[in-house]
């Protein structure tokens, strides 16, 4: 086969890289976090026209709070399901083990930076989950834990009044809004850039919906995974 035809074929041939389980979990996460951010921003920017518009769209001040708590419930359910998935399903457990941070990830990250700067000629060879995916996963895991703990204190303050000093509620509030802002930042500047906005993916990468990636891109972005799949004869 001529090289060009081969290239086209490899662009058209896709494989399901992300299974349905993970796609559903990601979707629930996406919906709940989007709602949480929109209702949270409404409160944070209540004094601006933007905040008032959000509050109006969310059906008023008290409805805003209700949506925030319902979305929090969805997020916590998703987290709980994800924990069950990685603990008790073989498939989930295997995915999770690949997600663990290793020294190689930090080396890859350094190499990627050096490659960007032009110091290194070669791009690092990345696996199924590279420093990009892992850093995002663990950053979000940490954020979600912080948000759930601080959010719980604020939500059930009447119960926690018997347990925590007054300053703990003030700290919980500062942490909740501070981390919320960070999450928005990480999502827009990092996650969105990496998955949707960067060249070759813009304007949207549908893999979050169908889990598919072209063979060409798999080889470019996850060469080690590509090689492993090829060796197993799965391509």
């Amino acid at each position: 086969m001529p090289n060009e035809q081969m290239q086209e074929l490899r662009e058209a041939r896709t494989i399901e890289r992300i299974n349905l389980q993970l796609r559903v979990q990601h979707f629930a996460l996406m919906v709940s976090v989007t709602l949480l951010i929109l209702t949270g921003l409404a409160l944070l920017y209540r004094d601006s026209a933007f905040g008032r518009l959000l509050i109006a769209l969310e059906g008023g001040f008290e409805a805003r709070g209700t949506i925030h708590r319902v979305a929090a419930g969805l997020l916590m359910a998703t987290v709980f399901y994800h924990l069950l998935y990685i603990l008790f399903s073989r498939e989930g457990h295997e995915e999770f083990m690949q997600m663990l941070l290793t020294v190689q990830d930090f080396k890859d990250y350094g190499a990627a930076l050096l490659y960007g700067l032009g110091v290194r000629a070669e791009e690092p060879q990345l696996d199924r989950y590279s420093y990009r995916e892992k850093f995002q996963y663990w950053a979000f895991a940490l954020f979600v834990v912080i948000m759930i703990v601080s959010g719980f204190i604020l939500w059930f303050h009447n119960w926690f009044f018997g347990l925590l000093p007054k300053w703990a509620f003030d700290v919980a509030l500062a942490v909740h809004s501070g981390t919320g802002t960070l999450i928005l930042l990480v999502l827009t500047l990092w996650h969105f850039y990496l998955v949707h906005l960067s060249p070759g993916r813009f304007p949207i990468d549908w893999s979050f919906w169908n889990g598919k990636i072209s063979e060409k891109r798999l080889q470019e972005e996850h060469p080690l995974e590509y090689q492993r799949l090829k060796e197993k004869g799965l391509l």
């Binding site: 409160l43 209540r46 009044f161 018997g162 960070l182 990480v186």
Partner: protein
């Protein structure tokens, strides 16, 4: 005979002219001479119940109406002595828009009509005050006159003449104590309740409607000069507005706490006073009004904090940490994106060449 009468008139004239307060030449002298200068003059309004008809003319001459004639207001008195009881007079006889006697006009009487007192008066409540209950009848003085009942220092007593229990609470409060120490910038009844436009707290127009309480307190408590003179912190109202309670109130959740929910109102006391609801040991009870689980824990921490203010303690440091982290991460992400695009661009160029 005529000589005797003339003598009597002369003697009477001499005696009267030496009476304090008015001279015979005073156009009001006849009213006084005939009857109303007599402290004993009274009328039986019910069996055994008397109303004094005495007019303290010296006081009248100190009032804002000192140049008026009795008959300027008592217009139905056309002959002296009058045959019939004069009708009750009303301030609005003169104080109306377009009056020709030069009586000052303001919107206050109109506001009064809408007020709690005005409404009660309209309903026929015999205890409802109108103008004269605060401004008096014959001795109306400007609010700047220290012996006027509407002078700042005298307002609590004036209101207290009806609201006796509230008055006794007020005089014990920080505001009442300060006023007793001649600190005239301390809050008196009308500073919070207003005077002519005084509404019950459930009326949205009221200065003490839950959504307006913070702004009412703010009229003094955000005034840096007054608060510095009195050694009272000035950021409390702003901090409240940024707090859970303040935000909830702003968006119409009226059950949320406002200033008076914790500080009380007529008997506001310093947090150092063990009788105060905000005395640290009393906070559990105070917060407990709404938060049943509140214990001594609620006293452990600072109140009325603004996160960006170093006075907020640990909250300030958490806030600063997040502020810096957010800035550093923003810079980091932008750096990463630029680097990534630059890398791709170089790669593409080299690919095209190679």
């Amino acid at each position: 005979m005529r000589g005797i009468i003339a003598l009597w008139v002369m003697v009477g004239g001499l005696v009267l002219s030496s009476w304090p307060g008015y001279s015979q030449r005073d156009p009001n002298a006849r009213c006084l001479l005939e009857c109303h200068a007599n402290p004993e003059l009274k009328r039986e309004i019910a069996p055994g119940q008397f109303k004094s008809l005495y007019v303290d003319y010296e006081q009248f001459k100190g009032s804002v109406h000192r140049d008026k004639l009795c008959v300027d207001c008592h217009t139905d008195v056309t002959a002296i002595p009058h045959q019939r009881r004069p009708e009750q007079i009303h301030c609005l006889q003169c104080h109306y828009q377009g009056n020709v006697v030069g009586a000052p006009v303001s919107e206050r009487p109109e506001k009064y009509k809408e007020s709690a007192h005005g409404k009660a008066s309209k309903r026929g409540d015999p205890n409802a005050p109108d103008c004269k209950n605060c401004h008096t009848v014959h001795t109306v003085r400007a609010h700047t006159d220290p012996i006027s009942p509407v002078y700042r220092a005298n307002i609590p007593k004036t209101c207290g003449s009806c609201h006796i229990e509230i008055y006794t609470e007020y005089v014990e409060s920080v505001h009442g104590q300060a006023l007793r120490n001649n600190i005239l910038e301390s809050a008196v009844c009308s500073d919070c309740h207003r005077e002519h436009d005084l509404f019950p707290p459930d009326d949205p127009r009221s200065s003490l409607h839950p959504q307006n309480v913070a702004n009412t307190c703010a009229r003094c408590h955000t005034d840096v000069k007054i608060m510095e003179r009195r050694g009272v912190p000035v950021k409390q109202v702003e901090a409240f507005k940024r707090s859970f309670h303040g935000i909830a109130i702003e968006f119409g959740i009226l059950r949320s706490a406002n200033c008076i929910s914790c500080h009380d109102y007529h008997n506001i006391l310093s947090s150092r006073d063990p009788r105060s609801p905000i005395y640290p040991l009393n906070l559990a009870t105070t917060c407990g009004q709404c938060h049943p689980n509140a214990g001594q824990n609620v006293a452990r921490g600072r109140f009325h904090i603004i996160p960006s203010d170093p006075d907020a303690g640990i909250v300030f440091w958490v806030y600063e940490f997040y502020r810096w982290l957010t800035m550093v991460m923003t810079a980091g992400f932008i750096f990463y994106i630029v680097l990534d695009l630059y890398g791709r661009w170089r790669h593409a160029r080299r690919g095209a060449h190679g």
